[in-house]
Amino acid sequence: MQNTFFTLISRRLLGAIPSLFAVIVVTFVIMRLLPGDPAAFFAGAAATEEAIAQIRTQLGLDESMFQQFWIYLQALAQGDMGRSFTTGQPVTTDLLERLPASLELTLLGLVMAIVVGLPLGILAATRPNSWIDHLCRLLTTSGVCLPTFFTGLVLIYIFYYLLGWAPAPMGRLDLFSSPPDKVTGFYLIDSLLMGDWELFNSALAQLILPAITLGLFALAPLARMTRAGLLGVLNSDFIRTAHANGLPRHVILLSYALRNTLLPVINTMGMVFSYLLGINVLVEKVFAWPGVGSYALEALMASDYSPVQGFVLAIAVLYVLLNLTVDLTCSLIDPRMEAAR
């Protein structure tokens, strides 16, 4: 078991290298097409021609494209993703600082979607054509139609402006709190580790609206997949046999039907999560969230290519790890997947 697990992991990680390399190449090429001259940007408005030329040489921008790419790859191999012109910091530092904010938001959104979506799908599948089935259909159809940036604004208007329940959409903490000591970078976990409930509540209050925005979007595919998968399984022969053998309903549902439904649901979950990582850019902009998405967006607007390259690469690596986790979970749930490999 242990052995097959390790071969599986290493084979998948090795198999991901070509596509990661392709991502690096494509991003590099696209970023070199960005308008604007980074050297002029870096030198400032009052710089002379010579100063700009000097900075260009310093940044290696006067080398050929291949030469630049080779230099970039060598740096990358040492974990150096270049330096951001706008923040003046190494991209790796910036990304590591901001990644927890994005991950905390995305994960909480996904958890909310799972907590609501799975039971909703199960209830809808076990009671077809009841009111809960119709509710499920309404939510799943409308959930994917709502533009995430618009949902976020509506939530801000209702819960901040009208009701005053939510704090101002201005980042991860209100002005009066200072961030917890960094352990994981997730404010919710770190504040709990410090035992500071006030800070935890403050962080949660800031987090809840953006997380709901993401969750609403992720809810639809999850509930839909759960309902469809479970309906299919519930109609199959082995469930009828289990019924005929007199097994109690909840045993049939939970240990027979649900386990077989989980595979497509977990695959969908992986897909949804990866999509959420991309859509994060929008939610982070609406809620002024200091995550990697807004970082990449600002950099893109300023033709600052190192942060964008670093961001895309980081997300691509996350994708690979995510797909690996999904496959491993699937093979845990369904041993047949293991045999098929």
Partner: protein, 280 residues
């Protein structure tokens, strides 16, 4: 005659699809006749009347420059619908061509197309679209290209898998025995058989592609203000949300949601009609 009766029956069976169809036709009419329907010039600013709440004179209120929101939302239909349709057709055309070649010829062609698709799918799609638009420059055409590129893989996959199944069928062998060339078989025998799943994919894709275009302009890429486009309008309204002027962002956002909803309902309905087995 019989065919049209069948359609009518199917539409009446699905009231939701019928409603979506009606809304869709209305939206298309709005897009076509927008310049004649708008009560005000969507670009004319009137700073004396800025940020007015909805009233009889301005149904959707006015924005920060005093422009009539109703006129702007109506004109936005043109832009958003146009981009979505252009992007989906472009993606479907290229994707079908590549997918058909990959499925039919197999071998190196298949491997090359497959690799290309894998590379696109390895990106966070929205971020890829952002990067493409930023690199190519802010224009409507570039938004269409970027949307088409990120949508293309889905068509390649659908068409490839359909062609793979179909190419061993008897009618293909028969066509070959009759002396048809490869390209002729592909064009006249196989592609018509792929059209059903293709149409379903396209209609489901339309709403998504519209959301994508609006999201791009929301973050400030692609279409530039003062163009009346829903994403930009929501972005402009966003700063007034926290001071209570909800109408600037609400109406374009609602319009976008409504049209996307209508596309998705139509897509679901079409799928139920064309291919009931895939219903979820």
């Amino acid at each position: 005659m019989k065919r049209s009766l069948e359609w009518r029956y199917l539409l009446l069976q699905n009231p939701l699809t019928l409603a979506a169809l009606v809304v869709f036709i209305l939206v298309v009419l709005c897009a076509i006749f927008a310049p004649w329907l708008t009560p005000y010039d969507p670009f004319a600013s009137d700073t004396a009347n800025s940020l007015q709440a909805p009233s009889a004179a301005h149904w959707f209120g006015t924005d920060q420059l005093g422009r009539d929101m109703f006129s702007r939302v109506l004109m936005g239909t043109r832009m958003d619908l146009g981009i979505a349709i252009a992007a989906v057709f472009l993606a479907a055309a290229i994707g079908t061509f590549l997918g058909a070649c990959a499925g039919f010829y197999g071998g190196y062609v298949d491997t090359a197309v497959g690799r290309g698709v894998d590379i696109i799918m390895a990106f966070p799609l929205f971020v890829l679209a952002m990067a493409i638009v930023a690199a190519l420059g802010n224009s409507v055409a570039n938004v269409v290209y970027a949307s088409a590129i990120i949508n293309m893989p889905f068509y390649v996959r659908v068409v490839r898998s359909e062609i793979l199944v179909l190419k061993g069928a008897g009618f293909v062998e028969a066509a070959r025995l009759c002396g048809n060339s490869n390209s002729r078989i592909l064009w006249s025998q196989l592609l018509p058989n792929v059209s059903a799943p293709l149409v379903v994919q396209m209609s489901l894709n339309m709403g998504w592609s519209m959301l994508n275009a609006a999201s791009l302009s929301f973050v400030g890429l692609g279409i530039r203000p003062p163009s009346p486009e829903w994403g930009i309008m929501v972005a402009e309204g966003a700063q007034y949300i926290i001071s209570g002027q909800w109408w600037v962002a609400l109406f374009p956002g609602l319009a976008l949601t409504l049209v996307v909803l209508c596309f998705n309902l139509l897509g679901d309905g079409l799928r139920d009609i064309i291919d009931p087995r895939r219903r979820t």
